[in-house]
Amino acid sequence: MLPDHKALSKQHPLKKAALPPQLVIPLQQQAGGVNTPLVEVGDTVLKGQKIADSKNPVGAPIHAPSSGKIVAIDERTIPHPSGLPAACITLATDGKDTWADRAPIGNRYSELPAETLRQAIREGGIVGLGGAAFPTATKLTPTHPIDTLIINAIECEPYITCDDILTQHFANEIIRGIDILLRLLGAPHCIIGIEDNKPDAITSLQHALKAKPDDRIKLTVVPTRYPSGSEKQLIKLLTGREVPSGGLPANVGVVCQNIGTVYAIHQLVMQGNPLISRLVTITGEGVRNPANLEVLIGTPIHQLIEACGGYQENTGQLIMGGPMMGFTLEHDQLPIVKASNCILVTPKTPEIKQEIPCIRCGACEAVCPAQLQPQQLLWYSRSGEHEKAKKHNLFDCIECGCCDYVCPSHIPLVQHYRYTKSEIKTREQEMAAAEIAKQRFESKTKREEALAQEKEDRLAKKRQQLEKKTKEQHTDGGTKQDAIQAALARVKKKKDAQDAPKVTEPASEPATNPTDDTPTPQTAAERAAAAAKRRAEKKAQQSPATNPTDDAPAPKTAAERAAAAAKRRAEKKAQQSASTNPTDDALAPKTAAERAAAAAKRRAEKRQSSAHRGPS
């Protein structure tokens, strides 16, 4: 089975990381609402002061981890799989660590309504500390009645021990935190799930439960088996209930909270401390003295490595998170964020074994916690059979990496699934967009036809009337001429009036230049193809980096395929709209092609970011 390597970081005691001269605090550290800064450069802030928030109820504000002065609010690289920069507040600490006024709820929590507690948790900036960083207040607003609160102390990823250490030190606080949550949720039961490789933490919890007996809380020790800590798998393990695909734990009457989150809630309620620090495991064979540190959010990683004795001689990868689901960082000048549970430095690996063909041995299927058939999904992913991949429930894959780990052919299965998932999503979005565009185009054509018909009818009627009139007045020459003139003028005026609103529409503009209509879509198609090619080439460049022994032809073909597909798509779209109404003023094809190009661009950007995003 998976070796746990946990002893490594448990050999040194928990300590507090030194206060760094500068803290870089990303504005966005959670799912949900986008935070905007509440401070300006030059402001002095106190420890625990709210410095960024959003109006979205799903969200979590950001607080100053220490006292000092805001020196910058700008884009900086943050620890994210995409490696892209994002808005950050930089705080120069003053060394005094002066707290802002805190107003802890204290023991009154048992009398307060749930909504007040929930609001306090949101205001305290608390998010899930297990790695997903989902706003806790939202998770504590279940859509269904909850009978069981599950506390996730599994920590199944190898190397990581921060929850273990936290539990050993703060078991009493955690039990109090559970009481707060049970009251908030009105749930009658709580199960603490913990793996049997944490005997000290288990003892601590048992002592805490003995000191303060609470028959609502049950401690369940489960065998060490990755990925038991995955939410849905844990619920099944502890309660036997299976969260339906696409559903939430609340669907089966359960809410899950990471044990670190419970401690953070305790600190907030009892001490008034917002979430400004967390325990981080600094470990791996590439670090001299692996340990667990209490770290302020925003502390640069290199300072933590230094606090742990620096790097060993031959370092390979710098990983945020565990070896199974973490993501690599290119350098250590990045801050710790709320979701950072572990910094893992691996030794330089001699050589990655070459990938060989899948023999469908089924080792992956045997270990898949989602009970998927990875071997079949690989087949469909490779051949681009998206419907079959979906039918084999590709989207139930939690990207835990078990299949990859056991694969005797060394196939990067999870990479294939991530890629196919994003392909399918993009295609579905495109199709939805195309459908809307088609509907809009058709209704516009209908509208215009109706208008034209109406005009025609009116003109015909007028003409008839006029002819009738002319017949009647055929002796009176002068009046006749005048009448014709007048009628023509009226018709012209009416026509102008009808055309006028159309002129204001950008739609009719290309009509003035009818020769323009073919080149534009073609250029757009070409543009889309070029963009796709660039994108694919970039991907190809990236993938050899990720797997240097990988053979070149595959990415190249993938690049060509992507480019060709984009071109085909764009051309088809252009053709479609052109052929629907060949006499049309060329606006539609142009917009369609442009849309395709824009979609390709959007997609490219999105894929770039999503390709790197680790499973959360």
Binding site: K236, Q317, C407, Q415
Partner: protein, 341 residues
């Protein structure tokens, strides 16, 4: 300081396809030793010829396909194919029999379909069927078990016979060959004999075909070791042997004078070898657990049907190939339930 970037997971187990295949080869050892003891040096010589042919064919074809040769040889799949085919052949078959068989297996059944992992049919069984249809005489000349021979061929005599067809002067071909129990039973039953009179024939042993019982035991030992090492799962051997036993018992109950007893079926021919080593080829078998049960049960039934009513004394190769054909359909219908569905 700059670090390598990569996608998760960042760690891998030491498992390797080559190791799996090597384990399969190791697991064949007891059966091979017993086979050699009973049927002479031809067993080992056949194996050697087949292995050399397989390595050369694999290397050449990979070169022609402009793919790396070393990984293909180091996955040991070609050797497994060669050994399984060689062990299915009569140990006194001339040298070109294993050569043609292995070439058919590696070139046609494996690489024409795209190489390792892409072949729909079990390469060893394709090779065997090609030989069975093309050279029925060579394929039916089985040596008599050693304990029945007055003269056992030495290594040099065997090599000479396999490569030139010349036997020592004192030995005649029908002196060293004997119809297998399956073959004999089929022929005699057609002639109207009943089983009770046949059972006293020399080709019958204490359980199944004479000598074959011991060879089967050897393969069973290796197969159990493969199960223990988790190279194979229990589904295929259990379903294959189970269905064969079931059908054989049923018909033996109906008419025990015409239908051989169920244990005779298990201990004769290549049943045990096929149940643990051939039908378990993951590339050509069904891939889901339920699918594997159906797939293997199908093989068991087909083996019985061919043995009881078909034109060949043993039906394993055809049964396996037919079920290979059905495997994708079985997989299509027996997709296991996904978590949360």
């Amino acid at each position: 300081m700059h670090f390598q970037s990569a996608m998760s997971p960042h760690t891998r187990s030491a498992a390797h396809t080559g190791t799996l295949m090597k384990n399969v080869l190791y697991a064949l050892v007891p059966g091979v030793l017993i086979s050699t003891e009973l049927f002479g040096w031809g067993v080992l010589i056949n194996l050697a010829i087949a292995c050399v042919t397989a390595i050369v064919a694999e290397a050449v074809v990979m070169k022609l396909r402009r793919r790396p040769v070393a990984p293909a040889l180091l996955d040991y799949s070609a050797l497994v194919t060669a050994c399984l085919l060689a062990l299915s052949l009569p140990p006194i078959a001339p040298w070109w029999i294993p050569v043609i068989g292995v070439l058919s297996a590696i070139l046609v059944a494996k690489h024409l379909y795209g190489g390792l992992g892409h072949n729909p049919f079990n390469p060893a069984m394709v090779g065997y069927v090609v030989l069975l249809i093309s050279f029925p005489r060579e394929l039916s000349q089985w040596p008599a078990p050693g304990d029945m021979l007055t003269h056992t061929l030495s290594v040099t005599e065997t090599v000479r016979f396999l490569f030139t067809g010349i036997l020592p002067e004192t030995v005649r071909l029908d002196g060293i060959t004997m119809a297998t129990a399956l073959d004999y039973t089929k022929t005699q039953l057609r002639l109207g004999d009943d089983l009770a009179t046949l059972a006293s024939h020399d080709s019958y042993g204490w359980l199944g075909a004479r000598g074959w019982e011991w060879v089967s035991l050897g393969y069973l030992l290796g197969g159990l070791w493969l199960l223990y090492k988790r190279v194979i799962s229990w589904h295929i051997p259990v379903a294959f042997l189970g269905s064969l036993l079931l059908v054989a018992s049923l018909f033996a109950l109906i008419d025990s004078t015409y239908f051989s007893p169920p244990l005779f079926h298990l201990a004769s021919g290549g049943v045990i070898l096929a149940a643990f080593f051939i039908a378990t080829d993951p590339v050509t078998a069904s891939t889901s657990p339920v699918g594997r049960l159906i797939y293997a049960a199908g093989i068991g039934v087909l083996v019985y049907v061919i043995r009881a009513w078909g034109g060949y004394p043993d039906g394993i190769a055809f049964a396996v190939l037919i079920m290979n054909l059905a495997a994708p359909t079985i997989d299509h219908f027996y997709q296991p339930r996904t978590f949360g569905h």
